[in-house]
């Protein structure tokens, strides 16, 4: 608590201590969303830069981790939106993911990946965390700043959109 109060008062050493303590956690959260280690490192630094700039608004009683995770999630959403506008997303689901189920045909995997990247970004993030990473709904809701009901609704809508898209491509879930 003392460290957090010192950080809120602008103490540079307290910020460094918090950075070293939370950089791994923030990176781990971001890489699960963007699934790109290089981008996740950049976004981790950017997250802490924003944390540092907003230090005067930080309330030490609310905890550093959830606050940083919320900022990180917003940055990850912006990053995915920008990438969606810039390029087609071929290869978005490359390593460092666990290998996909070998029983699943390669063309089905490609179609699922293509359908997934076509989801609206907000639905895609909720679906990534809930369906693939199996993150608890409560954690997703806190990071996105929405209710658990809204998370469930986004995951439901994502599933429905994916089903429709996959059926159009000849894949029956």
């Amino acid at each position: 608590m003392e460290l957090l109060e010192e950080f809120a008062r602008g103490d540079a050493e307290a910020f460094e201590a918090l950075f070293r303590q939370f950089q791994g956690e923030v990176y781990g959260w971001i890489v699960r969303i963007v699934r790109d280690p290089g981008a996740a490192e950049d976004l981790t630094v950017e997250t802490f830069w924003r944390v540092y700039r907003a230090r005067s608004r930080f309330d030490p009683r609310r905890g550093f981790g959830p606050w940083a995770r919320r900022i990180a999630t917003n940055l990850a959403l912006d990053h995915l939106s920008a990438r969606r506008n810039e390029t087609s997303l071929e290869g978005d689901f490359q390593p460092p993911c666990l290998p996909p189920d070998p029983a699943l045909a390669a063309d089905v995997r490609e179609k699922v990946a293509a359908a997934f990247t076509r989801l609206p970004v907000k639905l895609r993030v909720a679906a990534t965390l809930a369906m693939i990473e199996e993150t608890p709904y409560g954690d997703i809701a806190e990071a996105l700043g929405i209710s658990i009901g809204t998370v469930k609704s986004r995951v439901f809508r994502a599933a429905r959109l994916l089903r429709g898209d996959l059926q159009r491509m000849g894949v029956e879930p």
């Binding site: 990176y27 699960r32 089905v108 995997r109 699922v112 997934f116 693939i132 990473e133 994916l162």
Partner: protein, 72 residues
Amino acid sequence: MNPSDERVPDLVKRALGPVADAGLKRDLWPRMRARLDRPAIRVPWWDWALAAAIVLCFILFPAAIPAVLYQF
């Protein structure tokens, strides 16, 4: 929920797979330090003065706005 909607999460997980290693491979503090040391972009005071003068001109002479826009 449509029964096939319920099978979608399982299909997605099997097809895409969770992130295998979400651990940070290196200390990012040196990059953070460099980011903190980077000087902030500062707008010179005369740029602000010029912008204020333009706005003031538009307020005093609104008929000039279409003439200026025509140049673009």
